[in-house]
């Protein structure tokens, strides 16, 4: 193995698979798909820091599942190449679903290891407001969560909040906390200043996210906001019973600590002036802070309030007193819910939400609707508001009519019918309008240089407005209020676009993400069954008692306790294996880790090919009577090989499940071999490796060993002597065909048929080793097709001739070595490999090779240029040139498929033309055959 890694003539392509083979002997064109290793082999020194910090433990296939390894791993201690690799199947659905590109699996995996500080830094890498999205997120991640296919999605938001709250509680020590990680504080690196200045208008999630990203890229950024507080809509639009602000304020402060400048109470209405003041680029992220009403009679009476000004009063700690008032909130979205739940907290005696769609279809979050109802808000769904009734200059109610909802039409318009005769009046002293938000665009330059869209501000795909260097992100881009994650996502995108604007080709590109991993329901179940995720159900979010929610704005939802967070994190099925927490990136001194590595394709030409694709072990679980996988201490031989290996999971100690060494061991031959139900053939190597295992057990454990064999096949050089030595050691040999293994008291009872006269037919032992046979690789069929070779009846690759061409295949220049051709032991595999190498060398050293000239030829007078032959040719040997088929004389193998396909009989095969074939048939039929033979 080591010699291969160091050999100057061997180019080792690990993590690679053959994508296609074309061409012909001497000139095979090979395309190899190189799967990303995510670790640069040329930089990795194999130190293992990445594995130390990696939080993901999975079953170790090298130890046959008897131990675990990390997602950042090395195949084995003696691996060649020695570089580590990251086991990443792709990106998890939770990450793919999140507009902020939050790697939820990463911090969930870190929480699972109780590394809360690391988890916090992992969140903050993409998300500057963990406390916010740990509370008020729309949770696209949970909707996408694979766990939801089996029971309920992982409570990702709850875990995020737990981490955010934990970090806030430990905020003083946090900058120096890195848990098990071996690097210093995060975000420590000082980027090279670019000398560029950026102004951001609006200190909401979009603006602050972009500002932070730009500062991390080395730009100087100043953020302006008209409000007295930073945070935008999340600070003046989400009431404190859902989002306490001290954590948000702390998170904003962290953004400022990283170098973002902030100027509050400043209304910017001279964007061109900003550029004159030396800003190279401007980001407009002013949000959508204008609440709208619907035009119905009575809407202009002062008893009509607007949602956002009302919520702003609540959020800034100066709520109005609504004692004894009957409040009607018009609207069925989340803003309406915020208004209604705020109203009941400040004394409203009655509170109704009036909205057009039925309750089940409203846009507000379902879980919050339930809480609002619990708190005393009445949902008046399927109700159209027609008029605000004013009597004696006071609002007294809302005139309504019932509706019937029919979804949306093809153009996206809502289909609602009002039901005649259902008019009624809902009493109200005060109406709060929460029927949508828009943008105040009065600050834009009057010359129209920044073009508006139907709603909001127009931009190109790179977030730039019609004015060069002026960018837009967040709600003001879309024209209405969206979710926090959407704004953060747009902030990230805008920052990348602005960086490219400012630095040209050096600017950071849009990320190219690996494919998303989609687990099926059964895969999720299997993951749970294998113990990779706990079987427990979703931990719900607890709330404070109802009676404590009035006359104050105490936060209603409680954070998960540490125990709950751990339970919940344990439910993650780790779709992508690697959690992408990026701890390894921080831990690698050599900068060898690149999580954005892409799959690549390498192409080269070779003269000869040797297939040495090996075999797979027979799965003993296919024989139910053996109870493999059901009873403890029944091991397959490959598993036992790991157990006895000094570098294995027990450092070579052979132990039972109870930790004690076995006193007796049975070794069963022919498991899956010489059995008409599974494989008829003899796997050849098992008798001898069983004898070897007997010797090892005898030598290392001193246990009694019983071998139950069908026929002892010790046919090789020195093999019979090896058998005799084993027998002399005192190993017991019993002839028999094993019937069953069953738990019997504290032992395993192995019972067999066909025992010799006078010999036992069962034995009770502590441990059983199953000498499992060899089977063709699962993808042997596909590989055979790819290389144009045939397979034997049992699925192994077929040699050209069992005696005269044992390493050759029917494809010239393609040879076989090892167990891909048939079960073999190591000496035979090595010998055959030497033979295959010699055959390949002999061919290559000829310099040229002669190919049979019986190939297809085209009569161009007859060829209609239809191209059917081109489609039919299995060797891609035919091209259409000037509407005529042309055969590549080197690629053509003379199979004749094209000739059979050609409708105009333009293609013939040399020496197989009609004239010759007819003559041959006339000859064959010129004799008189006996009647029964014809």
């Amino acid at each position: 193995m080591v010699s291969v890694g160091r050999h100057p003539n061997i180019e080792l392509l690990a993590c690679s698979e053959i994508e296609s083979i074309s061409g012909y002997v001497g000139n095979y064109q090979v395309r190899v798909r190189r799967k990303p290793r995510y670790v640069d082999e040329s930089k990795c020194t194999g130190c293992g820091n990445c594995a130390t910090v990696c939080p993901v433990e999975v079953s170790n296939e090298f130890d046959r599942g008897l131990s675990t390894r990390k997602a950042a791993y090395r195949f084995s201690a003696q691996a060649v190449p020695g570089a580590f690799a990251i086991d990443k199947k792709g990106i998890a659905p939770c990450r793919a679903a999140c507009p902020t590109d939050q790697r939820a699996m990463g911090y969930v995996a870190l929480v699972r290891q109780k590394r809360y500080a690391d988890a916090y830094w992992a969140i903050r890498r993409e998300h500057p407001f963990p406390s916010v999205c740990g509370r008020v997120c729309n949770r696209n991640c949970e909707a996408a969560c694979s766990r939801g296919k089996v029971d309920e999605p992982v409570n990702i938001m709850g875990i995020k909040r737990f981490v955010a709250d934990w970090a806030y509680q430990h905020r003083d020590e946090l900058p120096n906390l890195r848990d098990k990680s071996i690097v210093g504080t995060p975000f420590q690196h000082k980027p090279q200043p670019t000398g560029k200045r950026v102004a951001v208008i609006g200190a909401g999630p979009a603006g602050l996210t972009a500002a932070l990203d730009l500062v991390r890229l080395g730009h100087a950024v100043k953020v302006f906001d008209a409000q007295p507080v930073a945070g935008g809509m999340i600070r003046v639009g989400i009431p404190p019973h859902r989002l306490p602000y001290e954590m948000l304020d702390w998170e904003v402060q962290q953004i400022l600590d990283e170098g973002v400048e902030l100027q509050l109470n400043t209304w910017i209405d001279d964007i061109p002036g900003l550029k004159k003041r030396g800003y190279d680029s401007v980001l407009i992220a002013t949000g959508a802070h204008v609440a709208k009403k619907v035009d119905i009679p009575g809407k202009d009476h002062p008893g009509n309030w607007l949602s956002l000004p009302f919520l702003k009063q609540v959020c800034l700690g100066t709520p109005p007193d609504l004692s004894g008032k009957r409040v009607a909130v018009i609207g069925g979205g989340n803003v309406a819910l915020d208004c209604a739940r705020s109203a009941v907290r400040i004394g409203a005696s009655e509170c109704r939400m009036i909205f057009r769609k039925p309750k089940g279809e409203m846009t507000g979050f379902e879980w919050e609707v339930e809480i609002a109802e619990e708190e005393g808000v009445t949902m008046c769904g399927a109700t159209m508001f027609k008029e605000i009734i004013v009597e004696n200059d006071k609002v007294v109610g809302v005139k309504c009519v019932r509706t019937e909802y029919h979804g949306y039409d093809a153009k996206g318009r809502i289909l609602i019918d009002e039901l005649p005769g259902t008019e009624h009046i809902l009493p109200a002293d005060l109406v709060i309008w929460a029927t949508g938000q828009g943008c105040d665009l009065s600050f834009l330059p009057g010359d129209g240089s920044v073009k508006q869209a139907k709603a909001g501000i127009d931009s190109n795909n790179d977030m730039m407005t019609s004015a060069p260097g002026i960018f837009v992100a967040g709600d003001v881009h879309r024209g209405s209020t969206f979710y926090v994650v959407d704004a953060i996502g747009e902030g990230h995108h805008a920052a990348r676009c602005m960086d490219r604007y400012l630095r040209g080709a050096q600017g950071i590109p849009e990320p190219r993400l690996p494919p998303v991993v989609e687990l099926t329901e059964s895969e999720v179940r299997a993951s749970i069954a294998h113990g990779e995720a706990s079987i427990a159900g979703r931990v719900p979010i607890h709330t404070i008692p109802l009676e404590e929610r009035y006359h104050n704005f105490r936060e209603v939802d409680l954070t998960l306790t540490e125990e709950e967070a751990l339970l919940e994190a344990d439910r993650c099925v780790r779709c992508g294996v690697c959690a992408e927490c990026l701890e390894c990136v921080a831990a690698c001194d050599r900068g060898a880790i690149d999580h954005n590595m892409q799959e690549s394709v390498e192409e080269f030409t070779v003269g000869t090919i040797i297939l040495a694709t090996g075999f797979k072990d027979f799965d003993a679980a296919r024989i139910p009577a053996l109870n493999y996988g059901k009873c403890d201490n029944i091991l397959s031989a490959p598993e036992f090989e790991r157990l006895i290996n000094a570098s294995g999971p027990t450092s070579g100690k052979i132990l039972l499940k109870n930790g004690k060494p076995p006193k007796s061991v049975a070794i069963l031959h022919c498991v899956g071999s010489r059995d008409e139900k599974f494989n008829e053939y003899c796997s050849r190597a098992c008798c001898m490796y069983s004898l070897k295992l007997s010797q090892l057990v005898h030598e290392y454990v001193g246990a009694e060993v019983h071998e139950i064999y069908r026929d002892m096949r010790s046919f090789g050089k020195g093999y019979e002597e090896f058998y005799n030595r084993t027998a002399q050691m005192g190993v017991h040999f019993y002839h028999g065909r094993v019937r069953s293994i069953e738990q019997y008291k504290k032992t395993l009872r192995v019972a067999w048929d066909e025992s010799f006269h006078g010999q036992p037919d069962h034995v009770d032992v502590d441990m059983v080793i199953l000498a499992t046979g060899f089977e063709p690789q699962a993808d042997a069929g596909a590989v055979a097709v790819q290389f144009g070779i045939s397979r034997s009846r049992n699925g192994f690759f077929h040699e050209r001739h069992p005696k005269l061409a044992p390493v050759e295949t029917t494809s010239e220049g393609i040879y076989l070595a090892g167990a891909c051709q048939a079960p073999k032991d190591i000496p035979d595999s090595v010998a055959q490999a030497g033979g295959a190498a010699a055959a390949a060398l002999s061919l290559m050293d000829q310099g040229t090779i002669a190919l049979d000239p019986s190939i297809a030829v085209v009569d161009i007078q007859r060829c209609a240029g239809c191209g059917q032959c081109k489609e039919a040719c299995p060797y891609q040997a035919i091209e259409l040139e000037k509407r005529t088929a042309k055969v590549n004389a080197y690629l053509c193998k003379g199979c004749g498929t094209c000739a059979g396909t050609c409708q105009s009989k333009a293609i013939t095969l040399i020496h197989f033309d009609d004239r010759t074939l007819v003559a041959e048939m006339i000859g064959a039929l010129s004799v008189e055959y006996p009647a029964e033979a014809t």
Partner: protein, 197 residues
């Protein structure tokens, strides 16, 4: 096709008793002699042997044969042998046609008479078709002195090292992140009980 110019030599092989025990080889040769274009037909114990091949070479020279039919085993076995013999005798090797009267006849037909009849049919077919053969040249292609080894287990490693040691550039493609395969997972291996890695 001018039959007058065709001079076919037919050789019926005994293959020891492999063919001769079931097929009346003499009768087949006799039958062949009567067919169009055939100037001579012989039966012989082992056509693939040196004396057997020499027969063909001599006859080409002495009788001016321009077509050769060998009724013996599968062409997979000896087509190349007889093509070479023809070439050595001065005839384009693609004027040889083999009739497989062993695998397709003597080994699968029990009755001697039936087998003989079938052998005659196969020989007649070969004689008829070889009339229309043309002189052909083998296609010569350049050989890239580079090899691909698929799979990095013990067999792949051994083959790659052998090729590389003789100076060839080798691409060794492995699906896993390391080579080693099953072998790397084993402890001690028989019959010597030495370390496997």
């Amino acid at each position: 096709m001018n039959l007058a110019k065709i001079k076919t030599g037919v050789y019926v092989c005994h293959c020891g008793t492999n063919i001769a025990a079931t097929v009346d080889v003499g009768a087949v040769a006799e039958f062949a002699r009567g067919l169009d274009g055939v100037v001579l037909a012989r039966d012989y114990t082992y056509m693939c042997s040196d004396p057997g091949q020499d027969l063909i070479k001599q006859d080409i020279k002495e009788h001016g044969l321009n077509r050769v039919v060998v009724a013996s085993c599968s062409p997979l076995m000896h087509e190349l042998t007889f093509r070479r013999a023809c070439s050595d005798g001065g005839l384009n090797p693609f004027f040889v046609q083999m009739a497989n009267i062993r695998e397709h006849c003597s080994w699968v037909v029990d009755d001697r008479q039936d087998a003989t009849t079938k052998a005659k049919g196969l020989v007649a077919a070969a004689i008829q078709r070889v009339h229309y053969h043309q002189p052909l040249d083998m296609r010569q292609v350049q050989m890239t002195p580079t090899a691909l080894v698929v799979g990095g287990g013990i067999a792949g490693i051994e083959a790659a090292l052998k090729l590389a040691d003789s100076g060839k550039h080798v691409y060794l493609v492995e699906r896993e992140s390391s080579i080693g395969g099953h072998m790397a997972q084993l402890y001690k291996t028989f019959p010597t009980l030495d370390c496997s890695a």
